[in-house]
Every structure is written in C-alpha cells, then in structure tokens.
C-alpha cells in the first residue's frame, strides 16, 4: 500500500491530510460544543478597558506576563484564585501567555493600584529594584485608540452576542450593566469619563492636563484595563 501511495502523490497527500486532520477534530470540537459560558461576575470590557487591552497587546506584555493561574497552592497564594474557563468568555484573543518573565497578571487589579502602576510603568526599577521590565515612558505620550476599541465592541456584540447593555449577574447577587454607546461620539465621551476617574488617582500633571483637554493617553487606558483584571 505504501509503495503504491508513494507513486500516487494525490492519494499520498490525501492520506497525509486525513491522518493529520482528524486528531484536530477530536481535540477541538468537544470543547467548542460546550461553548465557553461566562462565569458569574464576568463582564465584557468597557470601551476604555478594551482600548487598554489593545495597548497591552500592542506592546506584547504577554511576552513576559501570563494571565492564567494554575491550581497550585503556590500560585493561588501569589496571584489569587485559580482561573476558571468562564472568566475568559469575553477574551478575544486569550492572553494566557507562555512565559513568566514577569508575574501573572490575571488578578493584578486586586493587589496593585493606579498610582503604583503609574510609577512602575514609567520606570519599573524606581519601585522594584532589580526589575528587568522595560520602562514604558511613551505610553504617557501616545493617545489610546478608542475608536478601534469601539469598533471591536460593536463587532463582538453583533457577531458573538456579547451582552452589552444587558444585566449581568454578579457574585454577590446584584446585577451590573456594561454600557455600550450607540454612536462613536457617545463611546468617546464615556471613555473620557472613565479616563477622568483613573487620572484622578494619578500624579502626572501632563496626563491630567491631557485628560482635561479631552485626550486619553495610552497609560490611562492601560491602567483602566489592569485595574479591571480581578
């Protein structure tokens, strides 16, 4: 049979394809069938948080930071509860990472704060001597791309039924709603409101001035995103 296949490239190729394709089916399909449902308390990202997530991706923070807490005592001690599948329901793409040059950030919003991030992102070694994380000074200059974040929100709402403007059950039994504006202008305005709250806890004068003037520096969006990681 193999000698025959080796003389008939078409059938050879079909044979190879079948051999490599069906493992994929068995590996991937069952989990898809069980489409990942959001956990109680998992909310879609707001416009500003999503813009911050884009800043995170743009700078490949995932090259050094994971967002996946494995069920080991040492990890839950260090980072908090182990991850659940449903907590990632709105993560497109997933950002688990594969290398922890720096610590996991899955729940960093629980134990780091705006002003700390501000110091740390501008100059990691000023707060953590010996850190090898790059300083991200340009995040204080560049403006976040709120428009693209809004475009993505609209896309996931329309294609994947992500529940914006719907009541979402929280762990304590209450309900919360993540608002998605009807228009781009509306989204820009609500992102700015959110940015003002973050900037209020920051020390950098130029950031505060920028936000007052209606701009959103990347650092503000990024911090909003990191604070949302809980």
């Amino acid at each position: 049979m193999f000698h025959w296949l080796e003389k008939h490239p078409f059938f050879f190729a079909v044979g190879v394809f079948v051999t490599i394709a069906f493992a994929g089916l068995i590996e991937i399909v069952p989990n898809f069938a069980e489409a990942s449902r959001p956990s109680i308390g998992t909310k879609p990202y707001t416009t500003l948080e999503l813009a911050g997530r884009h800043v995170y991706i743009k700078n490949s923070c995932n090259a050094c930071h994971s967002q996946l807490i494995r069920p080991f005592k040492a990890e839950t001690d260090r980072y908090g509860d182990y991850s659940l599948s449903g907590e990632y329901a709105y993560d497109r793409p997933f950002l688990w990472g594969s290398k922890r040059t720096g610590p996991d950030l899955m729940r960093v919003g629980n134990y780091r704060t705006t002003d700390w991030h501000e110091n740390h992102m501008r100059d990691p070694r000023s707060v953590v001597p010996g850190s090898i994380m790059p300083a991200y000074a340009w995040l204080f200059e560049n403006s976040a791309d709120v428009d693209t974040a809004y475009a993505e929100q609209v896309t996931v709402r329309d294609f994947f039924s992500v529940p914006y403007n719907q009541e979402i059950p929280m762990k304590d039994g209450s309900k919360e709603t993540v608002v998605l504006a009807d228009t781009l202008a509306g989204a820009q305005a609500s992102a700015l409101e959110e940015a003002k709250l973050v900037a209020a806890d920051m020390k950098d004068k130029s950031v505060q001035d920028a936000v007052s003037a209606g701009q959103i520096p990347e650092i503000v969006a990024l911090i909003a995103y990191m604070n949302s990681l809980k």
Partner: protein, 300 residues
Amino acid sequence: MNKLTLWGIIFAVLMLGLTWLSIGGSKGGLNDDIVNMLAVAGAIALVVISVFVVIKYVRQMQNDTATGKLADKNWDGIGEYKNELPAGWAFIFLGTMVWGMWYFLVGYPVNAYSQIGEYNQDTAAHNAKFEAKYANMDGTALVDMGEAVFLAECKVCHGLTADGIDGKAANLNQRLEAVVVKNVLVNGSNNKLLGFEFPMPTGTDLGLSASDIDEISAYIGNGLNGNEPAMFGVCAGCHGAQGEGLDGVGPQLNGFNNTLVTNILTYGKKGAIGTMPKFADRLNAKQIEAASAYVTSLSK
C-alpha cells in the same frame, strides 16, 4: 576510554551538577515537594538517556560497517537499504503505545482524575500542616513571620526597608507623614481604619484654620514631638492626648497597633500618597496578624 565517551560523561556530569545547583538555589531545596522531585528526576533522565544513546550510535559509526540489501531504486544517487527496524526502537515504540492506552483507559481513566480535586487536597494538607503551628505563635516568631510576609507581599510598594521608596508608598518606619495628615484634614478620611464606616471630619468641620492645619500636620508628622499646637486638643478628643488612639473612636496617631494595621490590610487605604490595596483575600488571618506585628515593630 574513548574520547567521545569521556565527553559524554563530562557533559552528563556538568548537566547534573547544574541541576544540583538549581535545587540549591531554592530555600529548602527539594522541599519534600513531589513535583520538584519528579521534575529533577525528569531532568536527570533526560541527560542520562541522551548521553547513553548518543554514545551507542557514535560507537556504531566508529566500529560498525554499513550492511544490508540495497533497494533497486535510487534518487539522485541516494540508495536505500532494506534493513529491518532496529529491534529496540520498534519494541519501545510498541511499548509506549500500550502504556499510553493503559494510562488513558486504566491508569488515569477519563474523568477519574481532576486537577481541581488534587488542588483541594494539596491545599487542605498545607493548611493543616500550618494551622497547628500557628495556634501558639506569638512574640518574635510572629514578627519573623510578618517579616517574611512583608518581604513577599509588601516590599514592591513599601521597599525593602519599608521606607516607602521616596514617597511612592507610606514610610512604615514612622506612623504618619505631614502630607498625609494635611490631606486628611483637608479632605477627611473614611478608610474604615476602625473596622467600620466612621469618617474623620475635615479640618473645616473641626473649626481649624489653614495655619492650624499646617501646624498640626507638622506636629503629627514629627511623631507628636515638639510643641503641641494649641488646637491639638480638638484631636485629642478622639485620638487621645498623646495620639495613642481611643478604641472605636479614633485610630492611633503616634504609632501602629495590631487593630489599625489589620484594618488597613483588610480594607485598604486611600490617602495623599496613593492607594494601598486590600489584602483580605490574599492573606489569611494569621498572616495579617503577623504582618501587623511586623509593621508595629518597625517604628519602635
């Protein structure tokens, strides 16, 4: 001995030595941790098997000769022997397949193993091991434990020596800095420092002038040393004559105590310097107690 065998052994010894070094790098070495042991066993197996196998084939290159029946065909001059499979290889291949089936169907039957189940067991065992120890831990042992907690959890903000890294977080070698006091007097404070909602009135509410506020802030920032400002009496009503605090009325201002720090760790604290996150979910009660003991010990 053959030169290559020698190199092989040198290499193996080097790698094993490095592995040994890595273990030494961790407090307590293997730490009785089965995962550590298996990982190291894996590393050793990797080195030993690789060296052994490579030496085997090098030997064949050195001493053996190519034999077998050549196939009729050749491609661009490349021929092929019709040799049988190397027996060892075929045997191990079959073996791993059988093992794989067994592992999946019998050894770890689908769904009979759960990583979360394993986690729960590990955590329970860990907690049980330390609960007994915690029961009668106090005094310097508690402060030592607190220092360990501090070094693992707090030093990224407060610095190795708890000096607050140039004003980036609170300097814990002293209770209050003047800026913090001033901020509280200007804006009030409601950080549940007493363990429940009870705000600190603003200076205006207390009838202080701007210069009173400056004076009092400087005084408290100086550890309540120097001349007591005239208006300090207003504060003493709630915080005690020496700022030693009054239970359930006002927190201590001239130093730390267990309740105060525990409340800060439980609820977090937002002030002039920045925001201190809460640690209630990350640390257990004993760890919080220990951290408090350590912080309290710093300014003494």
